[in-house]
């Protein structure tokens, strides 16, 4: 293999997992630049940054979170369709802990009027968050058990929680949409510290995920199990436990996303919260270059993928496309992206950029 310097770096860039997602993002932002130059304007108010770019980051927080968790699941060769429903469950749990009047918890009369008080919460914030995350992780573990131990197909196994989950979320709050008045909680979704607060949470979860997958052997095992289950077994990897932790973490991420989403709208809306988000999350991961069959993954690329989706949506709003029509555009973007990743197109691109076909090393006959 000839290795002249320029070709080598060019290939390294194009072959990196981050290339296509960043390219897609750049294309969308370029499109914005042409159609709406004001898109890139950033204002500062009281030390906080505002603008369309910031909007993309803020509104994409939930999908970025879901994408992080979903990446690990897809890398094991599976998928988790229930993340939207788990978001709803998490929101219901959090809301009911802060405001349990709905389920008949009797508060002393003098406290009743405090329900609407932004400083009131029935349970302390740390407890609310802890319990919510535990519940959502348990949901993830449930999925993991079905997939890894009961050997049910992932799409089917997570479909069950997807259907039943919203019912469970409604059950928790007795069907009522609980309003959340507690300010510190609402700050999670609405607050700003230079940048939107939710962004810091996404960054935190990303760091946790990175530590979990790249600073321990878990990441390598996930990839190994996703690429070749049998070889991994022969090497002593316990595939079932690996899958379990992937699904559990996905549930955890969905819980965090549920907290942020419900804090954002200050309601626990079991029917609508996170509706169809799982599809966005899967798409983010696919854009990020992780194959649905499993194997190599990149958390950062999935996050960029999520931003691509969000940027598409925000751009559409910015140039005035009616809200509901955005869905159609999203469908087209999916098609475009999928084509970009389809085998034939990738081979075409490779041939154009002059990369030679790899020696397959396969077919050593018998």
């Amino acid at each position: 293999m000839r290795q002249s310097q320029p070709t080598f770096t060019w290939r390294k860039i194009t072959e990196s997992k981050l290339f296509f997602p960043f390219l897609a993002l750049a294309l969308i932002l370029l499109f914005d630049l042409i159609f709406d130059p004001g898109f890139f304007r950033i204002e500062t108010k009281e030390g906080n940054l505002y603008g369309s770019l910031v909007d993309i980051l803020r509104n994409g927080s939930c999908i970025m979170l879901l994408g992080i968790g979903m990446t690990m699941v897809i890398a094991t060769g599976g998928v988790d369709l229930s993340v939207g429903a788990v978001m709803a469950i998490a929101a219901s749990v959090a809301a009911i802990m802060m405001n349990p009047v709905i389920i008949g918890v009797k508060l002393p009369p003098d406290l009743m009027k405090f329900i609407y008080d932004p400083n009131f919460t029935y349970a302390p914030l740390w407890q609310v968050i802890l319990v919510t995350l535990i519940v959502s992780t348990i949901c993830g573990v449930w999925n993991g058990l079905l997939v890894a131990y009961a050997k049910i197909q992932p799409m089917v196994a997570t479909l069950i929680l997807m259907i039943a989950g919203r019912g469970i979320a409604q059950l928790i709050t007795n069907g009522v949409r609980i309003q959340i008045f507690y300010e510190p909680y609402a700050f999670i979704g609405n607050g700003w510290v230079i940048l939107p607060f939710s962004l810091y949470i996404v960054a935190l979860v990303l760091v946790i995920a990175w530590l979990l997958t790249r600073k321990t052997a878990i990441g390598m095992f996930i990839e190994s199990a996703g690429i070749n289950s049998r070889s991994s077994f022969y090497s002593g990897i316990d595939e079932q436990k690996i899958k379990l932790i992937a699904y559990a973490f996905c549930g955890f991420c969905a819980g965090v996303a549920g907290i942020i989403a419900s804090a954002n709208i200050k309601t626990s809306d079991a029917n609508n919260l996170g509706l169809n988000y799982e599809l966005d999350a899967i798409l983010a991961v696919v854009i990020g270059g992780t194959l649905m069959a499993g194997g190599r993954f990149s958390l950062l690329a999935s996050v960029v993928g999520a931003l691509v989706i969000q940027a598409t949506t925000t751009s559409m709003y910015a140039i005035g496309v009616p809200a509901n029509a955005v869905l159609a555009i999203k469908g087209l973007v999916v098609v475009f992206v999928i084509l970009l990743y389809a085998e034939q197109v990738r081979d075409l691109v490779r041939r154009i950029t002059g990369q030679t076909a790899r020696p397959s090393g396969k077919g050593a006959g018998s």
Partner: protein, 537 residues
Amino acid sequence: MIQKISTLVANNRRFLPLSATIAMFFIAYALGAVFADGMRDPQVFFNLFRTSPFYLISAIGMTFVILTGGIDLSVSGVVALTTVASAALLRAGWDPWVVMLLMLGMGMALGAIMGAFITYLKVQPFIATLAGMWFARGLCFFISDDAISINDRIFRILGQTKILIPGLADPVTKQGDYISILVIVELVVLAVAIYIAHYTRFGRTVYAIGGNEQSARLMGLPVNRTKVLVYTLSGFCSALAGITLSIYVLSGHGLYARGFELTIIASVVMGGTMLSGGVGYVFGTLFGVLITGLIQTLIQFNGQLSSWWTNIVVGALTLVFIGVQSLLAAQKIRQLASKKFQSQAKERVTPRQVGARNRQMLLVGGGALVVIVLAVLAIGGAQNTTRGSGASSSTPIAATCQLKPFREEHAASLLKAGAIIAYERNGGSNCIDELYAIYPDGRIVGDDGTRKIEKQVTPADVEKLLADITGRGWFTEEMYTTWHVPCGQCFSYDLTVSYKGQAKTVKAVDGGTDAPANYWQVVSTINGVIPHFTSTQ
């Protein structure tokens, strides 16, 4: 004797899952009839068919796709798009039959495109049909943001014609049990689908692909062409389902059929079709849809359980079915592996052992369903207090229980006469129409079209009620009207509050996902105050 039966069972082994599903349906129905009087009305059975055409037709298309081992998530989008597009075209004056044909063509075209992506570009079915769903639903809103109502004569006739059941209805008074034209349509589609699945090469190729796609190719079957056709067929069915939906509700809206595909997939799975492909019967899908409808009916007859229990029960049942399927599949694999060893060890697995295990698994599945159904009904039966919402009613319903118009002029006149709250509630399983007026002096008057009922509370109570309602943001912009297809036994509400110079009317439909959060709190508060009509008899 036992030997004969077990041979019979062994020879028709492949029909066991289907028979189990059918048996479960009848057992559950029987149990329902035992515990709830209203269930014994034959109209309830016919209503299962009357409210299912869009589900069943769509599920039939989905069955074919799943049989090839694929999946079609675009059904809800195509259904919604069909309703909106037809409504728009009809409003513009197009001929209804042309519109219907056009819609079918559109569905087929969408399906074919997705099929091509899946077959030739090797895109995963999941992703391709997902994109299709977004695209289709998005197109709805290019056409119209709001619901468009349909006033076309043909559509009305198709939707509202009652076909009386001979023997159970009186043709003279036009009272009695009936079905609609759409039921005929769905049964015809079912029959055609069964024919295609079992008597055409296309259908058999579908099964072959699901069994082993590579083998099917090696056997020389037209795999690619069949795969594209199967998605085209599913698109056709989704469009047809959309047409039946628009006939049923006489309107079109992009928000319809949300979450539709999940129910469809669950129905197909419960009908015995395996998601891995190759196994299943279209006939089973019929029962899958009926069971889903039955669950909803049982829950609503119960009256105590809220509609979200449907989701939980459907989810749990899907789990049971899938669990059984997985167990049987894993067993098969183990059997084959052990067969290989045992053939080398010169021993054989006796067929009786195999049959026994199958039977065990199905007993487990059936038992689970029966237990769930019993639990649902027991909870309801134990708390059988009379409420306005028809827990027990055995008179056949005279009028169609479709969307009733609100008595808006009547409400307006009540308000003019001094009422501060005019609250109307339509629908439910008994097809009621109750209009209440609450006056500042504490008088509450209710009127259900035939009877009047009165209750007296203190003016202070009324003040408190009004303050509560205002406090929940009634007069803000956050309270808005929504409307969507009502579920079979859901209520529609029309509530006007006039207070301190402001008057606002907000309408909504039960079981919805789109009404503002506080609306339901307001409604439940009002429900707590007003007097209730006892069950009609």
